[in-house]
Symmetry: C2
Subunit: 451 residues, 2 copies
Amino acid sequence: MNTADLELPVSVPSTALFTDQYELTMLQAALRSGTAHRRSVFEVFTRRLPEGRRYGVVAGTGRVLDAVENFRFDANVLDFLRARDVVDEATLRWLADYRFSGDIHGYPEGEVYFPGSPILRVEGSFAECVLLETVVLSILNHDSAVAAAASRMAVAAGDRPLVEMGARRTHELAAVAASRAAYVGGFTKTSDLAAGFRYGIPTAGTSAHAFTLLHDSERDAFTAQVESLGSGTTLLVDTYDIAEAVRTAVEVAGPGLGAVRIDSGDLLLIAHRVRQQLDELGAKNTRIVVTSDLDEYAIASLAAAPVDSYGVGTQLVTGSGHPTCSMVYKLVARGENGEGGTEGAGDGRTEVLRPVAKKGLGGKSTVGGAKWAARPRDADGIAQAEMIGTGPVPDELADAQLQVPLVLGGRTVGREPLDTARDRHRRALAGLPLSATQLSRGEPVLPTEQA
Amino acid sequence: MNTADLELPVSVPSTALFTDQYELTMLQAALRSGTAHRRSVFEVFTRRLPEGRRYGVVAGTGRVLDAVENFRFDANVLDFLRARDVVDEATLRWLADYRFSGDIHGYPEGEVYFPGSPILRVEGSFAECVLLETVVLSILNHDSAVAAAASRMAVAAGDRPLVEMGARRTHELAAVAASRAAYVGGFTKTSDLAAGFRYGIPTAGTSAHAFTLLHDSERDAFTAQVESLGSGTTLLVDTYDIAEAVRTAVEVAGPGLGAVRIDSGDLLLIAHRVRQQLDELGAKNTRIVVTSDLDEYAIASLAAAPVDSYGVGTQLVTGSGHPTCSMVYKLVARGENGEGGTEGAGDGRTEVLRPVAKKGLGGKSTVGGAKWAARPRDADGIAQAEMIGTGPVPDELADAQLQVPLVLGGRTVGREPLDTARDRHRRALAGLPLSATQLSRGEPVLPTEQA
């Protein structure tokens, strides 16, 4: 599937310029020195989870596959690079033919991860792999940050549905990706129409204060809304006086009113009062939707309140305090000119690449060698550790491996429906020790062990 | 200018779906009740700055103008809305002809703002204005958050250039907008090629650890880079041992080496050592570029270090702790059916609209009426207050008004080169009391006063 084939609200003819300039200048130097074609293995991983978080959530994998397929240097892009003198003519000629022909393995979307987990492994020539660094990290760092927040909120919400409403709090296209990541992390719906259009995510809407203020009275507004949208609609009851609004809402819509929305004040207190009032008015099935700067802690604090669903905006799209992950894309092994295979990649190649690692300072060192990852489980199916190693996978861990093929020989093989990733996340979370779902700060719930 | 006419890396055929579903359902109800055509005034403002911040920076205005021009409901978008049963056929017919025909005034891009500043005022029918809420807020909330962080970093950096390198830490298209906002806020260049392509921002690149690790030795890597990119290139010296790398770098490139980059460790200490070593090797003009999770405080702490430029990533694109602003888009005045003009809009209309306001709870109240804003200055040209009022502008404030026309009768009149916004921000900052540029936490540097 090429995204150009889809009728997107935003067509992305090429993702090639979502790239830091140095990727191209390094390419030029490597082409000239003859090292550009050395077989290389790059890995995406993070050295740490955000402080206090117990697990991370892989999200964006499907978008990475789109980005790799659409990573092409069109004529107008090449003209730009030439006009700006970014790289020389030999490099431009090489870029004109660019098409990723290597392999990508990784944790499937929705899976959880821990410090050091080799979330993505990109193998091919140095030239074809290095160019993907920026866009791959953009996608995974953003989407995984949102999915991690969504997952914690979904845990806090339990069986109650969560609606993503954050579009207005983030870049308009980041919002579409955020809706997608939130859905993977456990959200139910989104208010963002572009996310519904692009990814098929169910959409939902309530009503806004502007609609009430537009009318000469709250009763006029409610009447207009119910006449047009039916009594199953959601009426916003906190523009003026909540008790009066609830009374008017049930008078106008009848006891079959779908829902009322509360967007301000002490939600715990107000939800109890509104529930009691609705019940007294006979609107026993009218649901209560709350919104208003909710995060996972606020959601958890409403667990005992008579709330039926949550609308979450700002804190979701900004990763609830952690708007980006710290994933990096590092060269971990390479061959000599034009030679070399992959080690431990399970694809039958036997030539061993040379592990490489940065020494660096301040905790920025890396571990050389292409890595496998496995998550052994106890008799109850609960994960015990995140095992990471280089070289052959120990037999006893063969069935517990985490990485799956996503691209083989340039061909995308890992595409899947978004619901598959969403279901996988639910299962992955259920397979972690119970303390994974505590909202309080703590250590990663699985230790990362080098095998 | 329609963005479809530009050769963009990302063409945006329509921005209409960057919209929360409730905007459309409210439209349907208002069309049916006959209130959709009431003349309305919506205002964008924020109730507070991020905690401790002394000023905000308006950014994204130019992108808002693009988004409004491209807010069209194409056939495939209408088909989607029909298939999902989002709105009824009458509403779909109305949407098919949608084109904003109203007026937009606002603070020009790069201007500073304070709590309550009426940053944008959108006037027209309720129907045409309410639809723009989500995308207008997405753009302003994101871009202004990045610009505010950029501005503080630029203050901390003084005369030293700042390079935006955050693409990998945020959504790939948010990154392009972030580069743009950073440029408005005072950054000099970006590493993001798409930002160079789309907005003409100067681009820059250094080198990465992967390039060094690709080669058999650091010397091989430096030689390859210098042979291809010339001795004016920037060599990355912290892959292994810094002192050895600096020695090798000057040997390979000669004393005319352009720059060395340090990306880890105690930058203050290392910069001093590297400077001394470079000077001793005769490379007195070789610049030192530092990168590594810099924020405005880290930049300020390096003021006395022999650093020539800064590369900033994560903390810039995430707004240095505040990744979104809390701007809202509120109905503040409206007419009766099809009647009414604007009050205080300075366009000669005299009919008075009815001010409307939400009562609400928890600090979410609004102030009714279309607002003017003015910033009077003392004899030295230093701003004294942010004056906000409804009704006629007092004569003595007429020359100190902040809002400018951006769209009149649906026609964009406020487009300007990005450098104009960048220059405006520099001037706006210079016209604030000196305490504006303190990095420490404090109150907004200007009091907001209701006239």
